[in-house]
Symmetry: C2
Subunit: 210 residues, 2 copies
């Protein structure tokens, strides 16, 4: 299985949705599913389902369909295989606390290894079982522990200031809640942007104008 030479971003972004629907089916005891059944449930087309799965080598059997457990295994492997990604949180405000709670309690494949803030008020405090460190210690921490992912819950200016350091220290992935456009300034890193402001603005536009 698995040829996955350059799978396109739209396909990758659909993987979690497949994972959600197939997990559900598995929980509900569904054993076998066809591309058209899955497509109907998910609101997409059978063609797309088959094209997507075939990006990773194809998980089905001609004439039969897909075994739910095989599908779940394959997609889980794609999404979660290997070591947990050591992750640091930067910014322990309200949003940082909610997000790190989610990451440690509900997400799979990540391990929160440190949290940083610049405020005296936060440093020394506790978050997800970790002691909040002064962000000025971030460089020495990264040199020693080599985290792979950074979660940015800080304002745009701070993110802009910190980004070159983090990239130089070998951070490969950013879960970016700041409004700074990381992807514009760096290549060779992976960024998932969660721009709450952008999201609200486009929602507003559509509610008002559609």
């Amino acid at each position: 299985m698995a040829v996955q030479n350059k799978v396109s971003l739209p396909v990758i972004k659909r993987l979690p949705k497949y994972y959600r629907y197939i997990s559900d089916m598995h929980k509900n005891g569904v054993v076998k599913v066809s591309s058209s059944e899955l497509a109907k449930a998910m609101g997409t087309t059978a063609s797309q389902v088959r094209q997507d799965f075939n990006c990773f080598g194809g998980f089905g059997q001609q004439g039969i369909g897909y075994h739910v457990d095989v599908l779940l295994d394959e997609i889980s492997t794609l999404l979660f295989s290997g070591e947990k990604l050591p992750t640091i949180l930067i910014g322990t405000g309200k949003l940082g606390r909610a997000i790190s709670g989610f990451l440690t309690k509900e997400a799979r494949g990540y391990s929160l290894v440190a949290a940083f803030d610049k405020s005296e008020h936060e440093i020394g405090g506790e978050i997800c079982g970790l002691t909040i460190q002064d962000v000025s210690h971030i460089e020495s921490f990264c040199r020693e522990h080599h985290p792979a992912v950074a979660v940015l819950c800080i304002p745009r200016s701070s993110a802009h200031a910190l980004a070159p350091t983090l990239v130089a220290l070998g951070i490969k992935g950013f879960w970016n809640f700041s409004h700074y456009d990381l992807s514009a300034d760096y290549s060779d890193i992976t960024v998932e942007n969660v721009h709450l402001g952008d999201s609200l603005m486009s929602l507003g536009y559509r509610v008002r104008n559609e």
Copy 2:
């Protein structure tokens, strides 16, 4: 100006980013900008900038470029014109608190008018200056106050259970943090999904496999 018959979703989703960059330029005293300058700053192409702006009638002057203040005005009008959207929050856990804080303090164009939860522990408490109400009162509240937007910070099962009621009560826009796929089950409503789980999974895939 403004012809905007059916502007495509990719264009709409780019509006907030234009807004951010143009706001910045305005703050920094930039008076005039060409499509190629703006494109370079934003990491896109001059063609796309001009195509995008022309979806809304075109904001520039041939031979000259775009006036930053005109651009900012036009895009602000598109994004924020008219009444603030009356908005309700459902789910006042950690995430709900962070998100409603963002909506009331940092976002434009929205007005949080009520917050609901189902937990005894939350009901009667305070959030963003509002008293948290029992979610069982949501129907009568909506009949009286006609909110336009609902922010869903509740688990998937609750969202699934509540959605038909909310849609029937006339909610037009959903800012959906639950993992329930609203868009699959309803049309005629506008949904902005913030699927944190999906976001983390696709980040993980890319960090591991790229």
